[in-house]
Amino acid sequence: MLENSAIKVSDLYKSVTTQEGELTILNGINLDVKSGESVAILGPSGSGKSTLLGLLAALDSPTRGEIVLDGVTLNGLDEEGKAALRKQKVSFIFQSFMLVDTLNALENVMLPAELSGVNDAKQKAQQMLERVGLSHRLNHFPNQLSGGEQQRVAIARAFICEPKVLFADEPTGNLDGANSDRVADMLFELNRESDTTLVLVTHDLQLANRCQRRLNMQAGQLSEVVSASDNSGEQVMARSSAAEAS
């Protein structure tokens, strides 16, 4: 079913060299995310969630294993190739928003469109900001916006180039309850409308439960959480990636 896969990961390893020796962060990951699917990756700090996200989004290279993103095998790509791929197919939302402090909301949203050479970047950005309810905040700078508003700007920026896959790293991590819900609503609404594949790393079970699939990362290995309604976090190993790899 490779045609329907937005992300296909086979036998993925990532190790780094530290002062104490080699440290394995990802230990044989296998994963298949369908196009248009929303997937949450849960797990304790240091389990390797963000590392996996970096690899899936073509920001980093694995030690071993293969990643296919929207039909393109990442292994063969150099940095420039990866950048071009990200430009065409991928977008991001970060916990710390990562807005450019010196640009206003509109200019921040325009940025990816301008990099991609979109002609009507300004109109598109205006429309996107309107959709996230910030049409009255176009000329405000990040430090003049609340955390929730900043993340909404980031969401508008993430969707402006109509990405195939959206990676979100703790998108509500820096927000309080009400803002967190509003941002999550917006994210899932836009995701549905644009039929984007969403890969989301979070500690927030509530947010994770809004995704179609939930995966748990533990000591560099990934396992599927069985029931969407199970908020206690009880997990069953659906496919032991380590076993499959051996």
């Binding site: 970096g54 950048a83 990200r86 430009k87 450019v100 640009l103 990099l115 050479g117």
Partner: protein, 816 residues
């Protein structure tokens, strides 16, 4: 598209003040270079213009034989104005009276610079054919005749000369000068083959014409032909101008080096600030090419802003300075091309070469930084940064000074300074290792902070103390140069010289001075004599040596000798002891070096056809620039007692007391009076102009060092914020944190000030002994003042930069 983003980022960052530091640093570098080039060129032109009046031209060729016509053709081709004249000695007769005179026969157009002062005021005319103008004292000697006979020709005396512009300062010129037309010389018939004549060719023109002329013609001259310019040492201001030029150049180079350092620090900060932006852009798929173009353009915009502001600043500076200068000087306007070109080159070279390394790091930021914030990409060697920065400094220095030696010296000094300071600083900070870590006492917290950031602090120390070292050096040198010049020309320095005072006139003259409350210098006896042998070896003249005669070269002319038992003022004993016995002589150091004379050598003279042999007992250094009677050879009184002598003295007279001079001429008709008042005035003006330029350079260096210090306090703000956040969280009070921050910076400033005092003393010692020939002394007050000032300045700057961090709440700090 990239250009649009670059422009947007630039515009926003500019308005939000984020680019202030780097633009200011570039502005200052451009302003220093273009402004200083403009101002110093204007002053240089003015000084040279003033100085030219002392030699009545810009350049002179003095030749014992008629000058090769080719040289004059070259001068014409280059568009230089020139005038020929001859100078020779001849006997002038008037009835039965006669006197040896110095004849100056000049062509049309003399003088090219300055004016002839007659007894009734300045004139732009020349004597007509068959007329002679004569120096006042000749009238006194010959009894004010109407006609004068020179060789076979008769001349009428038509005007009294007070001073020829190129007469120079030679109170010993024993024979009075007469001025006549060049075309009248043949009819006198005094010039015969073998006659001793100086053929003087004076040239005037624009700086570039003169430069081209010098380059072409100077190599063609033989040893007996002298090339003279305002700095050849013949004019009394030569020393002042030379030193001022060297100082200006050095100070400007140091100023540029400082401004470059500020750019270096600001560039680093500029790039660090963009780390996240680059990571984010890369994450959204920006290619390396796009990022290169974007930040290249961004930096170009920043640089252009700095250049434009710098050029405007430079122009304003020049306008401001010109407004303070007398109209005669501000009228000298140098071409604008060089300052502008230098300014633009400075901006581009400094911005791009100093930013190259931080920019490379910036471009290498991995996109993964968006997830792993500590990532900084490749760490290129610091050596690359150093090599690039030093090359930029050297390139700029060379462009500005056109002197490779001076540039390399400054770069080497800056390098040495950096190494020394970082080593010292690191050791000093590490020395405080034993101090505790309690967080209740601001001092302990400050010391702990200093130690924790030892490496970063060592770098900051280099910045603070180099800024202070250069500032102290420039302050000290400027003060010493000004003091020196003022010592040379103190208020009431002599404006009249008296020569040919007969021994019997000495007492009445002193009485006359006393009666009229005129303060005269010591009266010096003068006897003329010729040095004929050194240690029994007969001396030959330079002309003989040129003709191939073998032997030791001496001084071709008669010397003015005097006697004294005490060292004259403005003289310094270099070696030996000053005349204690009758057979001892003291020799001036320059002439001793030229003739190879040392202590204990036997010098033989012929005075009034009688031989005299004495031993060299001392070597003296003489300040020739002082308007005082100075001598090559000073004897013991007993040695010269048998010879007839006249005396000389100098005195200061206020303009209001001028009638006393006229009275003096009447009472002592045989005593010659030389009026050097005009020359003293001109000298003062030149010194004032030079002082102004020195102050200007000082202000620029001060600005540059402040900027370096401000830029330096920026470093490490992020770490500081994290630490403050932690301390705040654990309950440290606002007062404690403010005090600790202020104290930490104050301690850093204290160490920087102390280091600066030590290094500045050493630098000043080197510069004074090797470059400026000034007296060396220690600046003990600095050892206290520099650390205190350093502590105060750095503490103020530091707390000012941290004020926002210190005001933030715990939550804001943690979030930041």
């Amino acid at each position: 598209m990239e250009s649009r983003i670059a422009w947007k980022l630039f515009k926003r960052e500019l308005l939000q003040g984020q680019l202030l530091l780097i633009i200011l640093a570039i502005t200052l570098a451009v302003l220093s270079v273009s402004g200083l080039a403009q101002v110093s060129e204007r002053l240089q032109l003015a000084i040279n213009g003033q100085a030219s009046k002392f030699i009545a031209a810009d350049r002179i060729i003095n030749s014992p034989v008629p000058l090769d016509e080719k040289i004059l053709v070259k001068a014409d081709a280059l568009g230089l104005r020139h005038v020929a004249s001859m100078q020779f000695n001849s006997m002038a007769y008037s009835g039965d009276a006669f006197q040896l005179v110095t004849v100056r026969a000049v062509g049309d157009g003399y003088p090219l610079k300055g004016v002839i002062e007659l007894s009734d005021g300045p004139t732009d005319k020349l004597p007509k054919a068959d007329q002679i103008w004569y120096e006042t004292r000749l009238g006194g000697i010959l009894g004010y005749p109407k006609q004068l006979e020179l060789g076979n020709a008769n001349f009428s005396l038509s005007a009294e000369i007070a001073r020829l512009p190129d007469a120079g300062f030679n109170p010993f010129a024993s024979s009075p000068v007469v001025l006549m037309r060049l075309q009248d010389v043949p009819k006198t018939g005094v010039i015969q083959p073998g006659s001793r004549v100086s053929y003087i060719h004076q040239f005037a023109g624009e700086a570039d014409q003169l430069k081209a002329f010098e380059a072409e013609v100077k190599p063609l001259l033989n040893n007996s032909q002298r090339w003279i310019d305002v700095q050849s040492g013949d004019s009394p201001i030569a020393g002042a101008v030379k030193r001022a030029e060297r100082f200006l150049l050095l100070a400007s180079l140091l100023g540029i080096a400082l401004a470059c350092a500020a750019i270096g620090i600001a560039a680093q900060r500029y790039c660090q600030r963009h780390f996240d932006v680059v990571a984010m852009l890369k994450t959204f798929g920006a290619s390396s090419r796009q990022i290169r173009i974007l930040f290249g353009l961004h930096l170009l915009l920043v640089t252009l802003a700095g250049i434009v502001l710098g050029l405007i600043g430079g122009f304003l500076l020049d306008t401001l300075i010109s407004a303070y200068l007398p109209a005669s000087i501000s009228a000298y306007s140098p071409p604008l091309f060089r300052p502008i070109a230098l300014g633009v080159a400075t901006g581009l070279i400094s911005a791009f070469m100093f930013s190259a390394y931080p920019l490379m790091r910036l471009l290498a930021i991995p996109p993964l930084r968006v997830l792993q914030r500590q990532l900084e990409g490749i760490q290129l060697g610091m050596w690359l940064h150093l090599v690039l920065s030093l090359s930029a400094m050297a390139l700029l220095g060379y462009l500005y000074s056109q002197s490779l030696v001076l540039t390399l010296t400054v770069v080497a000094a800056v390098m040495l300074l950096g190494v020394l300071l970082s080593l010292f600083g690191f050791l000093l900070i590490r020395a405080g290792h034993s101090v505790g870590m309690k967080t209740t006492n601001p001092m302990q917290l400050a010391l702990a902070g200093l130690r924790r950031r030892a490496r970063q602090n060592a770098v900051q120390l280099v910045g603070f103390s180099s800024a202070l070292v250069l500032l102290l050096t420039i302050i000290a040198l400027r003060q010493d140069l000004l003091d020196e010049w003022h010592k040379q020309l103190p208020e009431q320095s002599p404006n009249y010289f008296l020569v040919n005072i007969a021994p019997e006139e000495q007492a009445p003259l002193e009485a006359y001075f006393n009666d009229n409350s005129v303060k005269a210098t010591d009266i010096y006896p003068v006897i003329r004599g010729r040095l004929v042998a050194i240690n029994g070896e007969q001396l030959i003249s330079a002309e003989q040596a040129e003709r191939g005669v073998d032997g030791r070269v001496g001084i071709s002319r008669e010397l003015n000798l005097t006697w004294r038992t005490s060292l004259p003022p403005n003289n310094e004993l270099v070696s030996g002891h000053f005349n204690q016995k009758a057979d001892e002589v003291s020799v001036e150091s320059g002439v001793a070096e030229r003739l190879g004379i040392g202590l204990g050598d036997e010098l033989s003279y012929v005075i009034d056809n009688q031989p005299l042999t004495v031993k060299v007992a001392s070597i003296r250094a003489v300040h020739w620039e002082t308007m005082q009677p100075n001598f090559f050879m000073i004897f013991h009184p007993d040695a010269l007692a048998p010879f007839a002598y006249t005396s000389m003295a100098s005195f200061y007279l206020d303009d209001s007391k001028r009638p006393l001079v006229i009275e003096l001429i009447k009472r002592f008709p045989t005593v010659s009076i030389i009026d050097v008042g005009a020359m003293v005035k001109q000298l003062r003006q030149i010194i004032n102009q030079v002082s102004l330029s020195l102050t200007l350079v000082l202000v620029l260096v001060l600005l540059a060092s402040s900027l370096v210090m401000i830029a330096q306090t920026e470093a490490g703000m992020a770490t500081r914020q994290r630490e403050l956040a932690v301390l705040r969280t654990f309950g440290a009070s606002g007062w404690l944190l403010r005090m600790a921050t202020a104290l930490e910076f104050a301690l850093l400033g204290l160490i920087a000030g102390l280091l600066a005092a030590i290094v500045a003393e050493f630098t000043i010692y080197l510069l004074k002994t090797q470059v400026f020939e000034l007296v060396v002394y220690m600046h003990w007050n600095w050892w206290l003042l520099a650390p205190l000032a350093g502590a105060a300045i750095v503490a103020l700057l530091g707390t000012w930069r941290c004020r926002q961090l210190l005001r933030k709440s715990c939550r804001q700090l943690l979030q930041g």
